[in-house]
Symmetry: C2
Subunit: 491 residues, 2 copies
């Protein structure tokens, strides 16, 4: 990164041109490099990877706490596995990368899929691992990458041909247990996305025509971006016995009978969540990151004059020693760039706290503490540094979350007519409106929405609490509305 570019910082307002803003964020904060020479594949750079690793760690802990154990599966899947569930293969076939040969001229008899998702690798093994009701519930997850030959335009972190996710696949003895798992998956999603990553979401039950290939029901979280488009974040799927039958995932029940298991699968795409997070939280100055996820949480900045250099550096070292036990702390002692340059750079990179130490501060036995979320600087007595930092650490992410949740509520607009929907979409909002049906008989109206408003029916709220009133009419066909749906543009 040439210094001039950093100094210039982000040169476009997020509100004015979100797409260019995101491109600059990715490039200038050194998050990803798009110059890798395969289309749709990018390199993730250290500043992003360090946050992504922290996100993985939080998510894995949450899954383990709810009884999931980790697996590592092969990333190749034989085509014959892949073909066992008909609607699954139909849904994924256009997106599969195939390995067909190896070494010096060995052609495989059967093609091997680079996993686009692992149902068809796992459930063949689950048929061996699950034998008795005593083995249930059977809950496993793996952290891995998947490959999808996407037709849509790619965008770093949001959408690419290789992305990094967690997939959890659980087997239960009853449909009720499986449904309870879907609810637990949604709760984990709220805990992580809203609680830890400060990303406001709504969970939708997707319409029949927009389900995961092979699912009975799909529940997916949508977040709304500054561009007015929603992005699908984690989804959880009730697969029922759709896969357990073709793959033979059976168990001997207490009554001695062989029964098919009920399966759920849950897929938080960590790299995509990272993309949504930086897009939603960032501002005109650059990245804003939840406190726990920042690669550097505190940067200590000596304000250096020749005469007091040693004294200032010693003080900075002492502060670093004090804080690095608990926090990722760094001293920026570069002397070939100005203090202003350094301030801008760390603000752009989203470091939550900056501590400035100059000769005058030392005289006053104080330091200056700058918070990236509030954009404010305060003087803090030396003896109060640790306490102050602990307080900021505790409230920083909570603060971001409050701000985002507040903003999100204003973005949902009730619509009674097609015109209302068009108006809401044009003003980059989400329309909530009566709609005929989310079963297949509603698909025709949904494709009208797609064609005429360039927006999508995202489904009904997953908590099932919103019902149309008796006289509500579908905003498209004018027929009786069976549902209240949400319509939005989407990535």
């Amino acid at each position: 990164m040439a210094e001039k570019e950093v100094q210039a910082g982000i040169t476009v307002k997020k509100d004015a041109d979100f797409s260019e803003w995101y491109t600059q964020i990715v490039q200038k904060c050194e998050l990803a490099d798009l110059r890798y020479n395969i289309k749709g594949f990018v390199c993730y750079l250290p500043w992003a990877v360090r946050s992504i690793k922290k996100m993985y760690s939080k998510y894995e802990k949450a899954l383990e706490k709810t009884g999931h154990e980790p697996l590592i599966m092969p990333s190749l899947i034989p085509e014959s596995n892949f073909k066992l569930e008909a609607s699954h293969v139909k849904g994924f076939a256009p997106e599969v990368f195939w390995v067909t040969e190896a070494g010096n001229g060995v052609k495989f008899e059967e093609r091997l899929a680079l996993r686009p998702t692992s149902e068809t690798a796992l459930y063949k093994m689950y048929s061996l691992w699950v034998q008795s009701y005593k083995d249930l519930p059977f809950k496993r997850y793996q952290s891995c990458q998947v490959w999808r030959y996407e037709g849509k335009m790619t965008r770093p972190f949001f959408r690419g041909r290789e992305f990094h996710w967690i997939e959890a696949h659980d087997v239960f003895s009853t449909e009720e247990d499986a449904k309870a798992q879907v609810k637990e998956d949604m709760r984990i999603t709220y805990d992580m996305l809203e609680g830890e990553f400060a990303i406001p979401i709504i969970f939708f039950q997707r319409p029949e025509w927009d389900k995961f290939a092979g699912a009975i029901h799909t529940y997916a979280a949508d977040a709304l971006m500054k561009s007015g488009k929603v992005i699908q974040l984690p989804s959880t799927h009730l697969l029922g016995q759709n896969f357990s039958k073709p793959f033979g995932v059976k168990f001997k029940d207490k009554d001695g009978e062989d029964k098919y298991g009920y399966i759920t699968c849950y897929g938080p795409a960590i790299s995509r969540i990272y993309g949504a997070m930086i897009a939603i939280l960032g501002d005109d100055k650059g990245l804003i990151l939840p406190f726990d996820l920042a690669p550097v949480q505190i940067v200590v900045m000596p304000i250096i004059f020749e005469k007091s250099k040693n004294e200032v550096m010693n003080k900075c070292e002492k502060i670093k020693e004090l804080l690095e036990q608990k926090y990722d702390t760094k001293i920026d002692a570069r002397d070939d760039v100005s203090a202003g340059f350094k301030f801008n750079e760390w603000e752009m990179k989203g470091v939550p706290i900056r501590i400035e130490v100059g000769p005058k501060d030392i005289e006053k036995k104080q330091v200056m503490i700058f918070r990236r979320d509030l954009g404010k600087k305060i003087a803090v007595l030396e003896k109060d540094i640790e306490k102050t930092i602990d307080n900021i650490a505790e409230e920083f992410t909570e603060n971001l979350k409050k701000e985002q949740l507040g903003r999100f509520n204003d973005l949902i607009v009730d619509a009674k007519t097609k015109k209302d929907v068009e108006k809401a979409i044009a003003s980059q909002k989400i329309a909530r409106c009566p709609f005929c049906s989310i079963d297949m008989d509603g698909e025709k109206c949904a494709s009208m929405v797609e064609k005429e408003i360039q927006a999508f029916v995202r489904g009904i709220k997953a908590d099932g609490n919103e019902k149309p009133r008796n006289n509500d009419k579908c905003v498209i066909c004018g027929g009786k509305a069976k549902e209240i749906v949400y319509i939005a543009k989407s990535y």
Copy 2:
């Protein structure tokens, strides 16, 4: 896992039939499942994955402490990248899996390699990322899997067609700096493998004919298995300018001149190290694991009689609460299997500490503490539990390490003649002997060793301290010995 199988435990002595012993360990401790339906690909199961994750975490910390930053690279490499360095492509071509098509009938113009190692993906990007002497040293690592279409027989964890490793790739402005990095890599290897995983190793400089494809020098750690075969564990390679020239990894030096960087790469294969670790540390009863790496570190075992059941369970819960702050602690309260069954199962699975609590112990205000490494049980007063466990936690791995290092030294035998070498190999040891040369002029003698003794010249000790005496003759050709080499059977 059927209970009868566990109850039977490991049914073969490690000394008597190492290969069958390892097979049983992998199956009965539920570490991997070999029934996945692609040859050479296996599923890693939770008990192994939980240790492997802990190993990754330790290794990544060690690399970050020495200035390496994490990357995530695409796992596909265009064939044109792959062909840029001639000896590299020659060495790896027989092992590459190729992606040739995607979706419904899209054939790629250029084949895409599933990375067998990432030099040719990374260095193309390094030519963009490294521009100035100020960017150096440039140190990056990624944790990922690699795929190799191996001809040799596969064995879970040791050798497979997909394995999990870390690769670190560093660029320096001088050859001296690069050489110093190779030394640092070796030090990290000793810290991790001997210090943390209790695996004794020797670092060898590999002979010219056994180098990494494209390297100037290869330094590799060998561990000796109970079978009398050595296994190659991490290796570090001095690539010099061999890759920086074809890939254009250049920097503008202080003097204003464009110069090619000096590159090193280092590849600890975590899944393979895990295999070596369980193979080396285990005993006739099953797994023995370093304390920090055990998925469960302490199992609390209530000895249940109907009358005292509640009291005993309460005590167990209290002990768990006390210890789970610091240690992975689990209560085994199953009542459908006997206490003896449970003891055997957890010993087989390598849980370092078992705490037994029965009604008599409660009367005496004590518990029984069993250590897996010593196979001994002691009575400990309730008030001393925490202190006792802390002490065991601290010395457990140290203990394993001492035992293994002692054993290892006895396994190296000095040989003066070919007969001596044959004798050492036949008694499952490593022969140390004078040898003509590890440059290409020694290859003929090395292939004699391979053909006639079914063993391999592993190289010279990497510390460079062992030199032949003036009159020493090569054990094969009788010519002047320029080196002291080590000869062993190998995996």
